[in-house]
């Protein structure tokens, strides 16, 4: 295993550049901050409900998790959510961010409503409403001129964005980064997922034997990343350490996952290997758990394949938050960080009974020592990501 030895050597060379999160900002249908969202999760609350406007408009499914009263231009709903979350994260970090701060934002569709309006004949240049428009809005708000990345990796985009930020902070390319995921509520996605028969008719039940599909959400979660040394030197509070991002691609089907979960397993394994860990050291997996028959079955295979019968605690948040597409892994990263801080795994709303060979998830809060966490996120196109976090220990 010379390759692994080499990777471990690389990692040791980077120990001096541990990357930590020092600020979290959240706009979600379950709360306007990480603590509020987590508190509601702990009470097994769900933001999924029926929406009369969608029902009137004739959607096959009119249940979703949406944020009410988002201020500003509806065509810039994604930009607004991202900005609110970014400002909140920066405020929490108490950092005086320099102009060369990097901005890394992931999303699936960007400002979906603008694309819809353009298709309906409104005179709009859709290039001004893609994901880069959201990244630019954040950069302009803070007057940053550092690196910018707009990750268009669909439902894994939040993990990708935070992973890209981690790399740049670790290498010293940027002193600070704002990173996360955003997705405004999208009627286009409602049509796409209902007509692809991927959506449940009533509610989202991650890993439950009665699950019948996903439900749509929206939101944004942003994080301030910096090195641990910098954070300690300026007397900031590291909330969690971002250690590695494992990636793979199923290269199998446009929408369906590889049924044996081997691609998902490789992503988790890659994150674990890069940190020089063994699977048994993982305390908690925040699963992708979309609630579809195929995705949850494949993820269960991946978890069983990687951990055998020694499964860590597994939970999922989409029964509470819905699937916020490009924002989902960022919102769930906020759940992970809050869980690390409180040393508690929240319940998995919608989960009662797993498949016979499936994965049991938390059904109530589980309080126990938590050190290493994987945050899984998978996407159309067979993209698999797993972000490894560690409780911050000075």
């Amino acid at each position: 295993m010379r390759e692994n030895a080499g990777m471990t050597g690389d990692r040791i060379g980077e120990v001096a550049h541990r990357v930590v999160i020092t600020g979290i900002g959240v706009c979600s249908p379950l709360g306007g901050s990480a603590t509020e969202m987590f508190r509601n999760l702990m009470h097994s609350e769900t933001a999924l409900r029926n929406w009369s406007d969608l029902e009137t408009e004739g959607y096959r499914c009119s249940i979703a998790a949406r944020i009410e009263d988002v201020p500003g231009n509806p065509l810039r709903r994604g930009g607004t959510l991202a900005l609110l979350a970014a400002r909140q994260a920066v405020h929490m970090s108490r950092a005086n961010l320099p102009i060369n701060t990097g901005v890394y934002i992931g999303s699936t569709l960007g400002e979906s409503l603008a694309f819809e309006r353009a298709a309906e004949g409104e005179s709009l240049d859709v290039r001004e409403y893609g994901i880069p428009s959201i990244t630019d809005a954040v950069r302009q708000d803070f007057a940053f001129s550092g690196p910018a990345q707009s990750l268009a990796t669909a439902c894994a985009a939040g993990n990708y964005a935070v992973g890209a930020a981690m790399e740049d902070v670790r290498s010293g390319r940027v002193p600070f980064a704002i990173a996360g995921g955003v997705e405004p509520f999208s009627r286009l996605s409602m049509v796409g997922f209902t007509r692809s028969r991927a959506m449940a008719s009533d509610t989202c039940r991650p890993f439950d034997m009665r699950r019948s599909g996903m439900m749509l959400g929206e939101g944004a979660a942003m994080f301030v990343l910096e090195t641990a040394e910098r954070a300690v030197a300026r007397d900031a509070t590291p909330l969690a350490e971002v250690v590695a991002l494992g990636l793979s691609c199923d290269a199998y089907h446009p929408t369906a996952p590889r049924p044996d979960g081997s691609g998902m397993k490789r992503a988790m394994q890659a994150a674990i290997d890069e940190a020089g860990l063994s699977p048994g050291m993982i305390d908690w997996v925040n699963a992708h758990g979309s609630g579809t028959r195929a995705s949850d079955a494949a993820e269960a295979c991946a978890l069983r394949g990687l951990f055998g019968n020694e499964l860590p605690i597994v939970s999922g948040s989409k029964g509470s938050l819905g699937h916020a597409l490009g924002a989902s892994s960022a919102l769930e990263l906020a759940v992970c960080v809050q869980g690390l801080l409180e040393q508690t795994v929240p319940p998995t709303v919608g989960h009662q009974t797993p498949d016979t060979d499936g994965v049991p998830c938390t059904r109530e809060p589980v309080r126990r020592p938590l050190r290493w966490i994987l945050n899984n996120a998978f996407a159309f196109g067979g993209l698999n990501s797993s972000l490894l976090l560690r409780r911050y220990d000075s």
Binding site: A154, L188, G192, S196, S248, C249, P254, G381
Partner: protein, 163 residues
């Protein structure tokens, strides 16, 4: 940046799926011997997904939201072209898509070089795609990165940081 290994004109006014179909047969040599889990794809695009997203919604409005055809929906996503390359050539390692202009292409190069330098992949492919619209043709460029190039890449990155 060195000249692309593949530099192909894409048809104007074509959906992303059709534009990609028009180019993939010309990529066989580029990907030869580089398949599997140790290959990574790093794609930057100015506009992936834009054309299909508008077509999909236009068709959905015509059919009604309850009866829309889902066929094009996966291609509304900007990562569909890169995922299609992965499927076609069996590239099962990291699969990235960035949207943007020069910054997106720089991010793709940087990530590809970093993945090679950190031994995450043996082969890295950087792709730039601008899909054609109206009467303007699009462009597909691709580079296959070798490990021996990485030292040069690192020097370039260091120079950029110092400048």
């Amino acid at each position: 940046m060195r000249p692309a290994d593949i530099d192909v004109v894409l048809p104007s006014n074509a959906l992303e799926r059709d534009a990609m179909e028009s180019v993939v047969d010309r990529l066989t040599a580029l990907f030869e011997g580089a398949t599997g889990v140790r290959g990574g794809l790093y794609l930057a695009s100015t506009d992936a997904g834009n054309a299909t997203t508008q077509r999909f919604w236009h068709d959905a409005m015509a059919a009604g939201v309850a009866l829309a055809n889902p066929e094009l929906f996966p291609w509304c996503l900007a990562n569909a072209p890169c995922a299609a390359l992965a499927r076609r050539f069996g590239i099962a390692g990291p699969n990235f898509t960035w949207l943007g202009g020069e910054d997106a292409l720089q991010a793709a190069w940087h990530a590809a070089e970093s993945a090679l330098a950190r031994n995450r992949v043996d082969n890295a492919f950087v792709v730039f795609v601008e899909f054609g619209k109206l009467d303007l043709p699009g462009r597909f460029q691709s580079w296959r990165l070798q490990k021996q190039e990485i030292r040069r890449g690192e020097e370039r990155s260091a120079a950029a940081l110092l400048s």
